[in-house]
């Protein structure tokens, strides 16, 4: 029962943390709960479909289907997280001021919210399909079904509770600092997901590792430990990354961070004045 609970908790944790960061990053935006809800619902439907066709997907492209699908899901999430951060670095300050001025949620249009919905869908789909497969495995192996089910539900509840805890914690940050914090969290999250995608493409033999294990910090922080798992999800900690993973990590940081900086950079007064007049 305990083992089942731990496995379930681990699978749910990643999706729960990503959803809570996304919810916090959209604080004060009217309709965010609805869009995140759509994302979770779509993700669950997608997870069931992926699990139902797991055999077909896995055997596609000479047995590389699973990695290719997961890498595509991860890279799509990275692109959407990056888009969100770039959008926020353009509109964030005005949004925070507006929220303060009118004292209630601000309508921003559907575009930024649909981007967050895609992120939530991808997170739930990826982790959810493993949850469904694992649950099916328990059911099919027929071992102590009731005890296993109790463990699984316990793990699920604990995973969701961790997400809620992170969300509540983030909301305690004053609004003027919150978007800076969620911006950094999303930047590091996106870089970590990009490194995960590189790992999957290497596992599929599509990309070379260049070099496996450019360092090994398992003695310092084991990735299987709770803290190791948390840091893997939040900032992409890996105890033994390949050179290719490091390249993806740094490239995601540089591209998203660079675009954020380029957009947020104070513009020369003359250009701003011309734009205001024109």
């Amino acid at each position: 029962m305990l083992a089942t609970g731990i496995i379930m908790f681990r699978e749910v944790l990643e999706a729960a943390l990503i959803v809570s960061i996304v919810m916090a990053a959209a604080k004060g935006v009217a309709g965010r709960g609805r869009w995140v809800g759509y994302g979770i619902a779509l993700g669950i439907v997608g997870a069931c479909l992926v699990a139902a066709f797991a055999g077909v997907i896995a055997q596609a492209v000479q047995g590389r289907g699973q990695e290719l699908l997961n890498a595509a899901v991860l890279l799509l999430a990275v692109a959407m997280l990056g888009w969100h951060n770039v959008w926020m670095s353009h509109h964030g300050k005005a949004l925070a001021q507006q929220m303060k001025a009118i004292g209630h949620d601000v309508a921003v249009g559907d575009k930024p919210l649909s981007v967050l919905m895609v992120v939530v869908t991808m997170a739930v789909l990826r982790e959810g399909s493993e949850v469904v497969l694992f649950g099916y495995g328990i059911y099919a192996s027929g071992a102590h079904a009731i005890s296993m089910l109790t463990g699984a539900v316990g793990g699920l509840v604990l995973g969701v509770a961790s997400g809620v805890l992170l969300y509540k914690g983030l909301l305690r940050i004053p609004t003027r600092h919150l978007f800076a914090v969620t911006g950094w969290m999303i930047l590091l999250l996106a870089a970590g997901l990009a490194a995960d995608a590189a790992g999957l493409l290497t596992q599929a033999g599509v990309l070379p590792a260049i070099r496996e294990g450019i360092w090994n910090t398992s003695w310092l922080l084991n990735e299987q430990s709770l803290l190791g798992r948390l840091l893997h999800i939040l900032v992409g900690y890996s105890q033994r990354p390949s050179a290719m993973q490091l390249i993806f990590y740094v490239a995601a940081l540089a591209i998203i961070g660079g675009l954020m900086w380029a957009i947020n950079r104070p513009r020369p007064a003359r250009v701003a004045a011309e734009e205001a007049n024109g």
Binding site: A3, I7, A54, G55, A58, Q59, Q62, G63, R64, Q66, E67, E130, L133, F134, Y136, G137, A140, S141, G199, T202, Q203, A204, G205, P208, A209, I210, R211, E212, G213, S218, N222, E223, Q224, S238, Q239, R240, P241, S242, Q245
Partner: protein, 115 residues
């Protein structure tokens, strides 16, 4: 200007070398999951080259090959055989397990290549 061009040529050439090394067919080893345990429980692999591990799940329900040491994670649905690539690895011992049944474990022992 000319050393920029030289640099680009050198870069393309090294990319070609990487692509070559990677395109060479990797040696294949086999691993079977049966009654929720790995057979064999110890795989011996040569260091310094990419290896394809063919994992066959002989059970009827899904398993997940996972290894933090190797940075690998792959669901193997019941009754399927799927490849996964590891390496080039340095000599040493690497643990793996079935994430859906964590008491099933195995070890990959990487040995220096024979001269």
């Amino acid at each position: 200007m000319s050393h920029i061009r030289l640099g680009i040529i050198a870069m393309l050439f090294s990319l070609l070398l990487v692509a070559q090394a990677w395109a060479a067919p990797a040696p294949v080893v086999r691993l079977v999951i049966k009654n929720q345990s790995f057979e064999p429980q110890t795989l011996t692999l040569p260091a310094g080259e990419q290896i394809e591990i063919m994992v066959k799940n002989a059970d009827t329900f899904p398993a997940e090959f996972e290894s933090a040491d190797l940075n690998r994670e792959k669901v193997i649905p019941g009754g399927t055989t799927l490849p996964l690539y590891v390496g080039p690895l340095r000599p040493g011992s690497y643990q793996f397990f079935n994430d859906f049944h964590p008491s099933s474990t195995g070890t990959i022992v990487v040995v220096p290549p024979k001269q």
